[in-house]
Amino acid sequence: MLPNQTRRRMVRAIRRNKTTLVGIALTLLIFLVALLAPWLAPFDPIQQNISNGDMPPGPVNILGTDSYGRDVLSRIILGTRVSLGIALSAVGIAIVVGSTLGVVAGYKGGAIDAVTIRVIDMLMTFPTIILGLMVLAVLGSGMVNLALAIAVAITPRFARVARGSAIAMRERDYVQAARALGMSDLRIIFVHILPNLANEVLVVGTLWTGTAILQEANLSFIGLGVKPPIPSWGGMIRDGVNQLFSQPWLSIAPGVAIFIVVLAFNMIGDGLRDVMDPKTME
């Protein structure tokens, strides 16, 4: 099927699927919040005001304040930028690196492919968080390292998808014709293989963005994430957990934010997967 027809069919199927639409709407809203964060936040998320510390939710501080007197709502809003930024960076790195490796391995075949598939399988035996912990144990905490750590866990998945696509494409008539005509490998990859990969990468990418956000929260909760005073949802939960019984909003509120964002991406991803899978289509 020509890419154009498939795309039109996909869009129609997506429009029918309520979950995906809600997911897309929610995601757009979240991006908006992330973009406008500094203007949306009622207070300065970093400024401490200890005399106003540990206040419960009220008319002034809608979600209360933490031990340093910082407004929880403002920190959550700014945290959107942090979490989204790290997750998208991680997925971006994984797409670029993973697709490159996968396409090269799939297209070239032979020894390169054999080695690559072994490495991919080996990396995929590790749960995402264990890989993340290993990388962070080596590199230390911080935003960039966090994105790298998450990217390491996700890259094998994209590499596998890319490799599969490259292998399928390499047998196609027009690709073989191009080779016979003397087109360089690089050109073939860019002109024929990569565009076909784009669809799958989109679906896989949305699915893994949700996971990336969860992993950022996980790693920040352990304490290896973003360094204070930068607000991070996982870090906020970690700080608040000791006061769970006295100031529960400190831990509960950021968790709701995580839930909403990840749910949004998962809804899109779930809908996209249904669209791709012929068995569940009507």
């Binding site: 264990i130 080596v138 909760f221």
Partner: protein, 313 residues
């Protein structure tokens, strides 16, 4: 069957070796110096040098690797850099808690996920289907540690039903179970969507298969058709997913053990990271890798038992 089992078991060794090499390399490309990390920045150079000698950090890499692999064969996992005691006993003490949680998470996932998957397949595209899928999607979107925190808040604080922390007394099965409930729910409820999804798609495939239609045409009662023919075949793909699922459970349980302050491999690992206990960290990674490789092997073998077509490839 025996040939398949033999071949598949043999494959586990190179995989394990590759994983061991990977762990070794990762631990050795540390930008920091373990000596500085453990002894501190003010330590005199002689102490640092002595530290490096004792721990074999000055030996050439192939010697270190030899010691590492050799140690594994004799069951010696080394000595912890943080508390200077042998690692293996510490890990063995932690293992039952980890096994309990992983198994309990698996049971929760299967007990809830499979029926939900069958249910959503049967009533597909109705409002029941959509709400059930949104619910399991919601589970996947919740960090497992967050669900743990919520459960603690409602079931340990507001109502004193379950203990907040600890693993309980291993020798007392009731205490052991009591301390297992909330952590197992935190892990199981969040991850069960994977099981639901696989069961649903497998069941959908099976429902419309020819042999099911034949069974109905024969006049078999609906529930017999469903359970005797459809379900048994639908469960086959589920077996192959269990291996991956256990990996996910293990990842999830690391965080849950922190929330509940529950002893186990996860606690050892996180402790090792914060105290820069490199030998312990390496040993725990090896344990995790071993468990995962083993579970995948068992899963593949079970798949061979359940689906006869695999054996004759």
């Amino acid at each position: 069957m025996f040939r398949y089992a033999f071949r598949r078991s043999l494959m586990a060794f190179p995989t394990m070796l590759a994983v061991l090499i990977f762990i070794f390399i990762v631990m050795r490309i540390l930008p920091g110096d373990p000596a500085y990390a453990i002894l501190g920045d003010d330590a005199p150079p002689e102490a640092l040098e002595q530290f490096r000698e004792i721990w074999g950090l000055n030996d050439p890499l192939y010697v270190q690797f030899g010691n590492y692999i050799g140690g594994l064969f004799t069951g010696d996992l080394g000595i912890s850099m943080a508390n200077a005691r042998p690692i293996l006993p510490q890990i063995l003490r932690a293992m039952p808690y980890t096994m309990d949680l992983t198994l309990a998470g698996l049971i929760v996932g299967l007990l809830l996920g499979v029926p939900l998957g069958v249910f959503t397949a049967r009533y597909r595209n109705t409002s029941i289907d959509y709400s059930a899928r949104v619910i399991s999607l919601a589970g996947l979107s919740t960090p497992s540690f967050y669900l743990g925190i919520l459960l603690i808040f409602f079931f340990s604080y507001k109502t004193k039903l379950f203990p907040v922390i600890g693993g309980g007394d291993l020798n007392d099965p009731w205490s052991r179970l009591h301390h297992l409930v909330l952590p197992a729910l935190s892990v199981g409820l969040t991850q069960m969507a994977y099981i639901t999804r696989v069961t649903r798609s497998a069941f959908l495939e099976v429902i419309n298969a020819e042999y099911v239609q034949t069974a109905r045409a024969k006049g078999l009662r609906e529930y017999l058709v469903m359970y005797k023919h459809a379900l048994r075949n639908a469960l086959i793909p589920l077996v192959s997913v269990v291996g991956i699922y256990v990996g996910i459970l293990i990842g999830s349980s690391i965080l849950v053990t922190i929330v509940f302050n529950r002893p186990g491999l996860g606690k050892l690992m996180v402790g090792a990271i914060s105290t820069h206990d490199y030998t312990m960290l390496q040993a725990v990674m090896v344990m995790y890798a071993g468990i995962i490789v083993l579970v995948n092997l068992i899963t593949d073998l079970a798949y061979g038992v359940v689906d006869p077509r695999i054996r004759y490839r």
